[in-house]
C-alpha cells in the first residue's frame, strides 16, 4: 500500500470517469456537459456505428453471376443453403454458333437461422456471386422468416462495399470490386 489507500484511488478512477463522460469537451467549452459525446455507447436506433468494410453482416447474392454450381451448398458446414436450378437453351454468343446450355437459378435460399456466418460459401464461390455485406439489420420476429430468398439476398448487393486497400507490405492480389 502506498501513501494513498487503494480505496481512495478507486474512488478517483470512478469519479474521474464521471467527469470525463459528462465533460468530454476540451478548451473553452470544457464546462459544457455533453454526455452523449463522452459516453462510450451510442444510442443505437438513433445513432448507428458503421461496421468495418469487412464485417460479415449478411450474405448478398449477385444473381446474374450464379450458375447454380452447388459449390456453396456443398461446402456449407450447416447445410443452410438451398439451391434449385434447371438447364435452358440460350441463344448462341456469336451469330451462327450453336445454342448454349445455361443454368437458370430457380431458388437460392439461405436459412439465416442456421447460418454460422463462417463465410466459407463466399470463399468457395468461383463466380463472384456471393459477397459479404456489413448490413446487420435483418432480424425477424419469427424464426421461420429468417429463410431469405433470392430477391432479398439480391437486394443486399447494394450494400456491399468496395474492397479496401491492403496494409503496406502485402502482396496479396486485390479482390475484384463487386458488380452493380
Amino acid at each position: 500500500m502506498g501513501l494513498v489507500p487503494g480505496l481512495v484511488k478507486g474512488l478517483k478512477v470512478t469519479g474521474s470517469t464521471v467527469v470525463r463522460t459528462v465533460f468530454p469537451k476540451r478548451g473553452v467549452r470544457t464546462l459544457v456537459p455533453a454526455p452523449t459525446k463522452g459516453a462510450a455507447t451510442v444510442q443505437y436506433p438513433h445513432v448507428k456505428e458503421a461496421p468495418p468494410t469487412r464485417a460479415r453482416g449478411v450474405i448478398a447474392l449477385h444473381e446474374g453471376n450464379c450458375t447454380a454450381c452447388m459449390l456453396c451448398a456443398r461446402e456449407c458446414p450447416d447445410w443452410c443453403i438451398y439451391i434449385e436450378g434447371h438447364k435452358e437453351k440460350a441463344p448462341p454468343r456469336r451469330a451462327g454458333g450453336k445454342p448454349r446450355q445455361v443454368n437458370i437459378l430457380d431458388r437460392f435460399d439461405i436459412d439465416y437461422a442456421l447460418c454460422m456466418f463462417c463465410g466459407i460459401c463466399v470463399d468457395v464461390c468461383p463466380f463472384e456471386a456471393l459477397f459479404w455485406s456489413p448490413e446487420y439489420e435483418f432480424s425477424e420476429p419469427r424464426i421461420a422468416d429468417l429463410l431469405h430468398d433470392m430477391s432479398r439476398l439480391s437486394e443486399w448487393m447494394e450494400t456491399v462495399p468496395e474492397f479496401e486497400d491492403y496494409e503496406s507490405g502485402s502482396v496479396a492480389k486485390k479482390l475484384k470490386v463487386p458488380p452493380t
Binding site: L7, G10, T14, G15, T17, R20, T36, G38, T41
Partner: protein
Amino acid sequence: MIGVLSELSYWQVTSIRVVAGLVAVLLVAGTLVYAHLFKMVSFMQSRLGPMEAGPYGSLQLMAEIGKFLQKEDIVPRRADRFVFKAAPFVVLTSTFLLLVVLPGGPDAWFISNDLGIYLAMAVSSVSVIGILMAGWGSASKYSLLGGLRATGQLIAYELPLLLAVVGVVIQAETMNLQEIVLAQANGEIFGWGVIGNPFIITQFAGFAIFMIAMQAELTQTPFDMPVAESELVTGYMTEYSGLRFLLFFIGEFATAGVFSAIAAVLFLGGWYVPGLDPADNLFNVIGPLVLFGKVVLLTFLVFWVRFTFPRLREDQLQRLAWKFLVPLALANIVVTGVLKVVV
C-alpha cells in the same frame, strides 16, 4: 408549520401530512433513483443510462413502475404466504416511520419529539424484521441465507450507528432532532461561530462511523452481502416479483434518502445554511430544499462508494464492526465527553 396548520380541521391536517410524507419519501426516492442509479452510475461506467423515456430518460422510473405493476405477483408454492406477502410492507413502514422525526424547517416537522433520534434509531431496526420475514417466508435457500446475513449484519451495525450518534447527542445536549439542528446553527467552534457548528467538523470520527454503518444498514456495497447478486442471486428478494419487488426496490432508495437525511441533520446542520437567522420564516420554505440538497450530496457519497468497491465477506464485515467501528465509536464518546466537561 404546526402553527399554520392549527387553524385547519383534523382531517385536513392529516391529509396534508400524508401527502407531505408520501412526497418526502417517494419523490426523494425517485430523484435518487434517477440521479444516482440511472445517471450518475451510468456516467461512472462511461455510458448514458436510460435516454428514451422522457427527456434524458427522466420518466424511466415511471416506466419501470408500470412494468413492475404489470408483472404477476408470484408466491412460491411452499412459501409462508402471509409472511412472504407482508415483508415488503414491513420494510417500507420502517422507512416511513423514520421520516416522522425529521425536521424540514423551524416549523416544518411532523412531530417534534424530545426522544427524536432515539425513536429514529429504534424504528430503523424494524426493517430487520421485514428482511428476516422475507428471507424466511420465501422458502428459498438463497433467500434464507440472504435474510440471515442481513439480520446478522444489520444488528451488528446498529451498534456503531447508535454509538456514533451518542457523540452528537452529548455535544448538542438534546435528543430532539430539531434542537440538534438549532444547536448546530447557533453553536460555535471553539469560539468561532461564523458558520455555526456543523457537527461534521467536531464530530468527524462520528460522521465517518455513521456513514460506514449507514452503508451497512442500507446493505449497499461493500456491505451488500444480504443481496450479493453474484452469490445469492438477490438474497432475500430473490423470490419477489412485480409490485412486491418494486416495494423493496423503492424501499431501498427511500431508506437511503431518509438515512442520509438523518445524517444531514446530525452532522451537516439539517435544513440550516450558514449566514441566515435560523428563526427566519424563510427556512420553512427553503429548509426542506436545503435538506434535500444535503441528502443528495450524502447519497452521492453512498452510491459512489457502492459502485466503486467490491464486497466484503461476512466474517470481514463482522470483524470491521466489532473490532474496529465499535471501539472507535466508544473512544469517540469518551473524547467527546471529556472535552464537553473540560471545554
